[in-house]
Symmetry: C2
Subunit: 230 residues, 2 copies
């Protein structure tokens, strides 16, 4: 399977089912900031990420936001929406450009509830995503910015398979629910310690080992949840 169409969930499906799904899917490029999901709006497509990262964020009325999820090729974006018809308070958009295999949401919905194997895989993903979310929910309230920044950077790295990617500090601030000033300070600190290099929206991990130490305990917990092979 070519690298650009590899998605963990699809890859682990029985061959026949995978083929059937793939035949109805379309590989789409996803530039930065592409909106995949808005609060209260039912999704048109489901996006099985094959590269890049989707951020799931909850925004408050005053515009402040905080990360509540990060989805790469280990998952797909609209999983939660398959479970029912409640209004989602979240926004999802492309944080690191990439691509996804997309399928009309209604079609996936039908398939999921008609195909037990697929349903199980979807629910397993929902479970892992949810457990990760509980950890991040506590993390947001309890840990300091520098630890959370380190965690975030590592989480992104896991999903892009590269020590180098693009993220402005302004953007990071809204992800971490912090002010840009604080992010600059935290990033500066990590940079002075030689863990990362930051250059106008380009970030590079220099020492992943030490970064792990700088991150809060939430990182390995969340990583195991989202990147364990089952």
């Amino acid at each position: 399977m070519p690298r650009t169409s590899s998605n963990s969930i699809l890859d682990h499906l029985p061959a026949a089912l995978r083929k059937s799904l793939l035949s109805r899917m379309e590989l789409v490029d996803l530039p930065v900031n592409t909106m995949l999901l808005r609060p209260g709006v039912p999704p048109e497509f489901a996006h099985f990420m094959t590269s890049g990262i989707t951020s799931v964020v909850t925004y408050m009325a005053n515009g402040a936001g905080a990360e509540v999820g990060l989805i790469g090729k280990e998952g797909f974006v609209e999983a939660m929406h398959l479970l029912g018809s409640a209004n989602s308070p979240t926004t999802a958009f492309i944080q690191v450009e990439g691509s996804a295999l997309r399928i009309p949401f209604k079609e996936l919905e039908k398939e999921v509830f008609a195909t037990p194997v697929l349903l199980r895989r979807v629910l397993e993903f929902v479970q892992r995503h949810n457990f990760a979310l509980t950890q991040l929910a506590a993390c947001n309230g309890l840990h300091e910015i520098e630890e959370r920044l380190a965690r975030w950077v590592l989480m992104v790295q896991d999903r892009v398979d590269s020590p180098k990617f693009d993220l402005t500090q302004e953007f990071l601030a809204s992800m971490l629910g912090a002010s840009r000033t604080s992010v600059t300070l935290a990033a500066g600190s990590l940079q002075r310690s030689g863990l990362i290099e930051y250059k106008r929206g380009h970030i590079r991990i220099l020492d992943a080992e030490k970064l792990l130490t700088a991150a809060c305990e939430c990182y390995p917990i969340v990583r195991d949840l989202t990147h364990d092979d089952r």
Copy 2:
């Protein structure tokens, strides 16, 4: 149906299915602090709350914790665990004494995946619970203690149907991911404004209207998610 055995999920099932389930369930009293779920331990029973409140909390290594869920008679405690076999990082225990209809977890699991209607109801609950969680995750990081305290009190009230219940400030602190001092100050402020009365672990809501104003925007969002009639 007697008040003590009323649970929203069970109540909305087709009569035959409900009867079948109820015949295999046991009504149990749940005193304060009863543990229902520990991190990484598969649940033995599922508890459909009929009164009282279960708190779902994520604890960090240093003992600090934060709320990631509140379950009353609108739901049941171990829903997430039905979806797969990943390790949950959460702890669940009784926060306000009450009762629940419990059923061996394995038995419910079998039933859920054999009975589409039941599965749908379960997934709907999981979805609502999850969307609420995304809101609370952001809330934990972005809102101030007094607003969150007001929100918490209202959420508890919704689930006990009473303006009066027992909660120590020490406990509230660990729920809100704050220090006891901060909770005392916030509670004192709400008390001086005449919104609540606090007396040695006994809290009484005096002015629910104003409390709504004092709470952050998250309260109505979460309430609609968890207490909407579908």
